[in-house]
């Protein structure tokens, strides 16, 4: 019996097998690590391709030996259940582990060990790694665009004010809470617009005028997303209600609007705002390019918002409408007090996703010549003093956008989980 069980590990010989198995895996890991970090091939005595496959084969045999069902050893059981259920899984586990180990040293040395951050010109970058000096020198440009250095405090103050005003709702007194919607939909956008106009544009109160052409960098991304965000929501609500309306004309106008904007790419919308829109304005009426772009993106995103809100409206049970009508409520009363509060609560995650898409879309305004972060990168990349650092720039921008978008998506997951339990 012992002979038959020899190749098939079981509870009786668990000790031998788990020890031999872990030693084999350890050897294979040591081989890969030494190969990646020290650049020495421990198995160079093996012929040809066998030396590259050696750790894989050894690891597979090791994992196979350790695969004992109901071994009674807790750690071993958890390990087997999670990474080692069968040979195929074991192979994938090993491949992922090995590729992580192999990718670690070159990326580490490029990003940190061989990188430079000191100095303030290109000559400071002597190593073979990344040149973070470039990011350091250009940091203010990436954040504020061509906005004059001495006025950066104006942008910062404006942002802090706008964010602080956004949180006012949380601290409102209980008897004022009924005006919350009114505050967020009408008063807040107006105040935010005034703050941004008077602080960032300037021109009065002794602040020097800075034209929108000088705005740029990440702050422009925030400004554009912020305005599109607060304007596209009410507009989307109107079209969502319009699409659910019983009146055919209003319904079809809404459908046409929504399907039109959803059917075209944002880039053509931006082209429209920059080259076609001026033709449609009265003769001596000048509208700033930034304003035109914000209007275009708002109209575009409103269609997506409308579809999300419509989903919420549709998912409400008919009983809610019937109950509201039976109390004698009219259309507007019913929607404002019964339908919308429930529907909007349902669509919060969807709206958050739309806003996420909006933030990810804002770099596109670079195409019509507004220099937000991607535009500033393109500008810095072609600067004759700083040629050849495209990689660092794009990695920097990617990290920033990734953090913003990841935080937003995690927040929307949280909201989703929060409101799911309530229904």
């Amino acid at each position: 019996m012992q002979a038959i069980n020899f190749l098939k590990p079981n509870r009786d010989n668990i000790k031998n097998y788990s020890i031999i198995g872990s030693v084999l895996i350890l050897i294979s890991l040591i081989d890969v690590i030494s190969n990646a970090f020290l650049k020495t091939n421990l198995t160079s005595f093996l012929p040809g391709s066998l030396t590259t496959l050696f750790p894989l084969i050894l690891g597979l045999i090791g994992l196979n030996m350790m695969r004992i069902d109901y071994s009674g050893n807790k750690t071993l059981d958890i390990l087997n259940k999670n990474i080692n259920t069968n040979n195929f899984n074991a192979l994938l586990t090993l491949l992922i582990l090995f590729s992580i180990i192999k990718a670690l040293p070159p990326s580490l040395s490029w990003m940190i060990l061989d990188a430079n951050i000191s100095g303030d010109s290109k000559d400071a970058c002597t190593g073979t790694g990344a040149c973070w000096t470039y990011i350091k020198v250009w940091f203010r440009r990436f954040m504020y665009g061509m906005y004059p250095n001495e006025f950066h405090w104006r942008i910062n103050t404006a942002f802090i004010l706008v964010i602080a005003l956004g949180f006012v709702g949380y601290f409102m007194k209980e008897n004022l809470k009924k005006y919350l919607a009114l505050y967020y939909v009408i008063i807040y956008p107006i105040i935010a617009y005034l703050v941004i106009y008077y602080l960032i544009s300037g021109g009065s109160f002794g602040l020097q005028w800075v034209e929108t052409g000088a705005w740029g960098g990440l702050s422009l991304t925030f400004i554009v997303s912020f305005f599109c965000l607060i304007f596209c929501f009410p507009l989307g609500m109107i079209f969502a209600l319009g699409r659910r309306s019983n009146l055919p004309v209003i319904k079809y106008i809404s459908i046409c609007y929504i399907e039109f904007w959803r059917g075209v790419p944002l880039i053509t919308v931006l082209f429209m705002s920059s080259v076609m829109f001026p033709m449609f304005l009265p003769e001596d009426f000048f509208m700033d390019k930034l304003v035109r772009v914000i209007i275009a993106i708002t109209l575009f995103e409103a269609a997506y918002c409308a579809e999300v809100i419509r989903g919420g409206l549709q998912s409400l049970p008919r009983g809610q409408y019937d109950a509201a009508k039976s109390l004698g409520m009219g259309y507007w009363k019913m929607h404002i007090f019964v339908i919308l509060p429930q529907a909007l609560k349902l669509v919060i995650p969807g709206i958050a996703n739309t806003f996420l898409a909006l933030v990810k879309d804002t770099p596109l305004i670079f195409v019509v010549g507004l220099a937000e972060l991607a535009g500033m990168l393109a500008l810095a990349k072609t600067n004759p003093k700083w040629l050849g650092f495209a990689m660092e720039g794009y990695i920097f921008a990617s990290i920033i956008f990734w953090i913003i978008c990841y935080a937003m998506s995690k927040y929307s997951y949280n909201l989703e989980a929060k409101y799911k339990t309530e229904r």
Partner: protein, 383 residues
């Protein structure tokens, strides 16, 4: 009376509002164009375009018309969308299935892949591939051969071209194979429903697909040769590959970025679809004696596909629209060729932007219409 007012007043107001806006815009446009001496019309489409496009699927030169330039751009857009859709589907299905794996490492790597590529703006990804990653590739003379015959260089990817003789005979044979497979499938279904007999359709289909085109090589006079890219010296330091097909780096960067970005969304669709099939279905199927393979093929997949396909098509549509970002790295797609170069030359902003938008709108609405039809067809018909 009150009811009638309630019903018609808002509608009349809405119509009035729309008409007023459109009227206002049209009048403005009219006066503006009069002032600048531009006239409205689509006559420019037949004029000579006199600009070159560096990458085109059909014959095109500067002496062709603007209409043909439009076609070149449209075909390039469709090409990049088509390639990216294939890659993003393959990647998306793999990642989506991997997210459901029982293996801790695989599950989490797939989850991080999705989180990573989904949360970086597509434009930045395109820029990264085009300006940073692909610029690090070797020069033509230093490039190593991939698979022996293809060369990945900083100037593009060079692959062998196929030189066909009697291509149409080959295509007819392929078409005949597909038609006979459809007929066979119908026949097999009929046989199964009436007499309960099973025919190994898949086996026969593969055989048909291989044998019929093979016959065309033997008897139809079809022949296929490969034209390999050859390194050629232009001057002392500049080399180039001649022969074969060259895929420009813009196309490669676009395909990479689009398929990596969209594959994360496809993966989420696939995951949601497979998770959406309730556990009871699997257990019920197993309890009536189906093998695990049959459970997957006959019970899980048909139901999962019903959930997967509509949102995935939506993602394909998004991909096609996102391919317009090509303009940012000068890949000659519809937006760059038509809304960029042609607009610059003719100055006909209104006409050209509307044509471009209408083209995308047509693509979107067509696919949406097909999707609605398909949804109706596969809907669960409850009694």
């Amino acid at each position: 009376m009150n009811n009638i007012i309630k019903k018609f007043l808002p509608q009349i107001l809405a119509i009035l509002f729309v008409v007023l806006i459109f009227g206002f815009l049209t009048i403005n446009a009219q006066t503006n164009m009069d002032n600048r001496g531009i006239d409205f019309g689509f006559g420019f489409l037949s004029q000579e375009s006199s600009f070159d496009v560096q990458f085109s699927l059909i014959e095109y030169s500067g002496s062709d018309s603007y209409a043909r330039a439009f076609l070149v751009g449209l075909l390039n857009t469709l090409l990049v969308s088509f390639i990216s859709i294939i890659f993003c589907t393959i990647l998306g299905v793999i990642i989506g299935v991997a997210r459901l794996s029982s293996n801790y490492l695989i599950k989490n790597s797939a989850a991080w892949y999705v989180e990573f590529f989904r949360n970086i703006p597509l434009l930045l990804q395109i820029f990264f591939w085009y300006y940073a990653a692909l610029r690090a590739l070797p020069l033509p003379e230093k490039a190593n051969a991939w698979f022996g015959v293809t060369y990945m260089t900083v100037k593009g990817y060079y692959i062998p071209a196929m030189v066909w003789e009697n291509l149409n005979v080959f295509l007819y044979c392929g078409l005949a194979a597909i038609i006979s497979i459809i007929v066979l499938k119908k026949y097999a279904n009929n046989l199964r429903d009436t007499q309960g007999k099973q025919i190994p359709v898949l086996l026969y289909s593969i055989a048909l697909l291989i044998i019929l085109p093979l016959l065309s090589f033997l008897f139809g006079g079809v022949s296929l040769e490969f034209e390999l890219p050859q390194l050629k010296k232009l001057s002392k330091i500049s080399y180039i590959y001649e022969g074969g097909i060259s895929l420009p780096p813009e196309l490669i960067a676009l395909v990479l970025a689009l398929s990596l970005y969209t594959s994360t969304f496809v993966a989420e669709c696939v995951r949601a679809g497979i998770e959406g099939v309730s556990k009871g279905q699997k257990e019920a199927a197993a309890s009536v004696g189906l093998t695990p393979n049959q459970v997957l093929k006959l019970v899980i997949m048909p139901q999962a596909l019903r959930i997967i396909i509509p949102p995935t098509t939506n993602q394909y549509l998004n991909l096609t629209k996102n391919s317009s970002l090509a303009a940012a790295i000068a890949y000659p797609d519809l937006v760059l060729v038509f809304a960029g170069t042609a607009l610059m030359q003719t100055g006909k902003a209104i006409e050209i932007v509307s044509i471009t938008m209408l083209t995308y709108l047509t693509i979107s609405l067509t696919i949406a219409a097909i999707m609605n039809w398909y949804n109706k067809k596969i809907e669960i018909k409850e009694k």
